[in-house]
């Protein structure tokens, strides 16, 4: 895999350990929560890249998972429910030299924030979206989410679910994400590898991390995730969208969860296209405003 590094990563490389990227904010998650694995994986990936935390912006929405930025030593925004995507887009377009990381949950991303997801993918916004997918609303104490399996009884579905779950991976493949990967959050080694590669990918990277909620989801436990996850075969062609979709479909039919790098391609990012547009019109900060005002003379 030929990782294309962000240009700024060369400029602002530092040598730090994973713990150097962690704040001392008090713990927020329950014991046994899968999100600890996501945090560990992320911190490891940051250290491996050697990213300068001053050039890192971690954006989140609302939910248990969206508290993650408080534990990361970087610039960060804890925004509104469902809005991490467009807020992060604003950060990235305003300052393409920054590394932008979204961390958030399945309800935040695919329910209330669902309207934004297709546009992050199709516009190829240069950022990574780490979905901490526990198939349940945890912060409000156990309601079904768009990725909940109907077998699960929740406080709002006491007689069982009545909806089919959404598949975040198929969704992202369909809408044009240029890097799509999946892992069990408990597999910190794989998770951190996929996060690292996703951060180094130039374009919109989506990493789905299956993360158990021991408090409110009693059917998707760490063990069931672990048992269902199956690493894609070595000969999986991640550059082929058709092969990626087929692999996901086949795994689903076999009641398995495909993990590893599922799909990766390259095309110009939104900020690159905008920079090109500015270049094409000869734009620059010191362009004389009077030339624009003159156009309004009668």
């Amino acid at each position: 895999m030929n990782a294309i590094l962000h240009p700024q990563m060369h400029l602002h490389k530092v040598e730090l350990k994973p713990k150097d990227y962690k704040t001392d904010a008090p713990s927020f998650w329950c014991a046994g929560c899968g999100h600890y694995g996501v945090l560990t994986g992320l911190l490891r990936a940051l250290a491996e890249i050697g990213i300068d935390q001053n050039y890192l912006v971690n954006v989140s929405g609302i939910g248990c998972s969206s508290r993650l930025p408080y534990f990361v030593n970087s610039y960060k925004m804890h925004t509104l429910h469902g809005r991490a995507g467009p807020v992060a887009t604003g950060v990235q377009l305003a300052r393409p030299d920054l590394s932008v990381v979204i961390t958030g949950g399945d309800g935040d991303g695919f329910s209330i924030g669902g309207g934004h997801m297709p546009h992050l993918a199709r516009k190829n916004v240069n950022m990574i979206y780490i979905l901490m997918d526990n198939h349940v609303y945890g912060l409000t104490k156990g309601q079904c989410s768009p990725t909940s399996r109907p077998e699960m009884q929740t406080t709002t579905t006491p007689y069982g679910g009545v909806e089919e779950p959404l598949d975040p991976i198929m969704y992202m493949l369909t809408y044009g994400a240029t890097y799509v990967a999946q892992a069990f959050a408990g597999n910190v080694k794989l998770a951190s590898q996929l996060i690292k590669d996703g951060m180094e990918h130039k374009g919109f990277a989506f990493v789905n991390l299956l993360s158990q909620c021991p408090s409110f989801n009693n059917i998707d436990t760490a063990q069931t995730f672990k048992d269902a996850c199956e690493q894609l075969p070595d000969d999986h062609d991640a550059s082929d969208l058709g092969a990626a979709m087929n692999a996901v479909r086949a795994a689903k039919q076999a009641c398995r969860i495909p993990t590893g790098l599922i799909y990766r391609t390259e095309r110009p990012t939104l900020d690159q296209r905008m920079a090109k547009l500015v270049e094409n019109v000869g734009g620059h900060k010191d362009y004389d405003l009077r030339k624009i005002i003159d156009l309004a003379r009668p």
């Binding site: 960060k76 925004t79 809005r83 604003g90 305003a94 500015v278 734009g283 405003l289 009668p298």
Partner: protein, 573 residues
């Protein structure tokens, strides 16, 4: 219209959308401004895209113009529909120029001057049927003394891109129209006065002027979602911002727009969005976050008829409640409103300056008729505008984003600054940004955020008082209604009434003391506004001791000076 000087001319051009009605209006406007006249235009168009009645009204005068006027003096009807739509306004003394032979046979009311011009026929005879509007414009130029040299110049400039043949064809049609009119005997008194010496002006619509104001203010980032009647702000910015190296993105909805704006603002950029009422409703939650996380942003609301989808292309001033209080929790924001095109430039700059200084959302209210009204303003020299940048951390000591200060303003840092890493959060937070829900902290933080707004009133020009001394009646107005009131008061004073006006541009925080001072000079107060509930009157009653009489209309059209004059006469009778 009564007593209106004959050289203050209002021409209304009406016809089928696509017949060139808008072009004729634009040409006349440009030519008059080019020649040194004051211009003020008014347009209405259907909400639907294809066909339908289109209307463009140009007011031109040697004197300063403040509004679109009461009604037209001259109607130029391209077809029967335009005639029928306006027949009721053809009062004695008005003039009609119409297509004859055309698709209608007008029954000219008694006392109305009429000039039949074979617009369609002449254009057809010249093998240039699309030049019907040029024939009409040529006739109008002779009949009402529209500066023809300027007309030829703007016409040539406009069509030169399409090639010499197109320029020539249109100029010929213009001349033919002039010949046709010259052969008629002029019976009406209407004529545009001799222009002042040509002045250094630009001519812009309210929407474009907001875009220009933003560029002058140093706009870096604009996110927009299309919505009538605000779309033109984004269109203007989309065209010109890339020249300045800035970024415009069209978002998937208004929630995304304001979210992107806040992201860009956090990243250190001057950012804005523009919308209309429905979009502002969607932005309400994020505006609360902007206040909580103390992020500068400018949001323009070009108001339209509401509620709900309402009357998308019609005029209303009905988003004041939403602008000031829309959203949950106790959130503050600065709200400005604009009177005219000049304000659209100047107050947009002020909006950015206030957003940067106070690190909070600033809303700028425009309205449907100002959005599309083109007016001449003196050439704005960008060097004459004072620009404000947010206060940034000096790098000394440990950085606390929300540090308590006397003014309530805490320095910001941009990502990339070593030692400045911090969180912008919508959760109630401590000085360092960590979640904190203690009573003491929430009360202290709310006090800090609202303390910032206390000095806003000092940063905005004092409210303009129109008149001096005491008055039998004072008129308070906001938005484009101000221009209507200005002219109404002039007429009333000419009739001997003692009246004065009060024209606030900063509506939140309300400059209450200035209201009180004005109120003390008036025996009675009137507050005309284009909404059903009397929204500004509500705030004035809530925040001052004044009890203005509310005069509200909500018919989708602005007030006219005559309506205000009548109302005042009634009150003071």
């Amino acid at each position: 219209m009564q007593g209106k000087p004959k050289n203050d001319l209002i021409i209304r051009i009406g016809g089928e959308g696509g017949e060139g009605v808008i072009s004729v209006g634009d040409f006349i406007t440009q030519a008059c401004a080019h020649a040194g006249l004051d211009v003020y235009t008014f347009k209405t168009f259907p909400a639907e895209i294809k066909g339908g009645y289109a209307m463009y009204q140009v007011r031109a005068s040697t004197e300063r113009l403040y509004n679109q006027g009461d009604t037209f003096d001259v109607l130029c009807a391209f077809n029967g529909e335009a005639y029928n739509m306006n027949r009721a306004s053809l009062r004695p003394g008005t003039t009609i120029v119409y297509d004859s032979p055309g698709d209608f046979d007008p029954d000219i009311p008694e006392g109305v001057h009429a000039y039949p011009i074979p617009m369609t026929q002449t254009a057809k005879d010249m093998h240039n049927p699309r030049a019907k509007n040029m024939v009409a414009m040529g006739a109008l130029s002779v009949l009402f003394n529209i500066p023809v040299e300027s007309l030829r110049k703007v016409l040539t400039a406009k069509f030169s891109r399409k090639g010499e043949d197109v320029v020539k064809g249109n100029l010929e049609a213009l001349e033919r129209g002039r010949e046709l009119a010259a052969a008629l005997k002029k019976t009406d008194p209407w004529t545009i006065g001799a222009p002042k010496a040509s002045q250094d002006v630009i001519v812009m619509s309210g929407n474009n002027a907001i875009g220009l104001g933003a560029l002058i203010a140093g706009l870096d980032f604009f996110s927009a979602y299309p919505i009538t009647p605000a779309t033109e702000v984004a269109i203007y910015v989309a065209k010109h911002l890339p020249k300045r190296g800035g970024t415009l993105i069209q978002a998937e909805d208004e929630i995304a727009s304001i979210s992107q704006v806040l992201g860009a603002s956090y990243a250190g950029k001057k950012a804005m969005t523009s919308t209309s009422g429905p979009g502002l409703s969607l932005m309400s939650e994020m505006l609360g976050m902007a206040f909580m996380a103390e992020l500068p942003c400018v949001v323009v609301d070009v108001q339209r008829g509401g509620p709900s989808t309402g009357l998308p292309t019609k005029h209303e001033q009905s988003d004041l409640f939403l602008a000031i209080h829309g959203g949950h929790g106790d959130a503050g924001r600065i709200v400005l409103s604009v009177e005219n095109v000049q304000d659209c430039i100047d107050l947009t700059v002020v909006a950015f300056n206030l957003a940067e200084k106070y690190q909070c959302p600033v809303l700028l209210l425009s309205d449907g008729s100002l959005a599309f009204s083109t007016q001449n303003v003196p050439y704005p020299d960008p060097g004459n505008y004072k620009l404000v940048e947010r206060e940034r951390w000096n790098g000394e000591g440990e950085y606390h984003r929300y540090v308590m200060t006397k003014s309530g303003i805490s320095p910001m840092t941009d990502p990339g600054v070593p030692g400045g890493a911090h969180i912008a959060t919508g959760l109630e937070h401590s000085e360092v940004g960590l979640p904190s829900y203690t009573s003491a902290n929430h009360e202290a933080m709310q006090a800090k955020r609202f303390r910032k707004l206390k000095t806003v009133i000092d940063d905005v020009a004092p409210v303009e008082v129109d008149g001096d001394g005491t008055a039998d009646l004072g008129v308070i107005a906001w938005g484009s209604t101000i221009g209507v009131v200005r002219e109404a008061l002039q007429r009333l004073r000419a009739e001997g009434y003692k009246v004065s006006g009060f024209y606030p541009k900063l509506l939140n925080p309300l400059p209450a003391q200035q209201f009180e001072d004005f109120g003390a000079t008036c025996k009675r107060l009137l507050l005309p506004e284009v909404n059903f509930q009397g929204q500004l009157a509500h705030f004035v009653r809530a925040e001052t001791s004044l009890r203005p009489e509310s005069y509200t209309i909500c018919g989708g059209m602005p007030f006219t000076p005559e309506m205000i004059v009548k109302k005042v006469r009634e009150i003071l009778a």
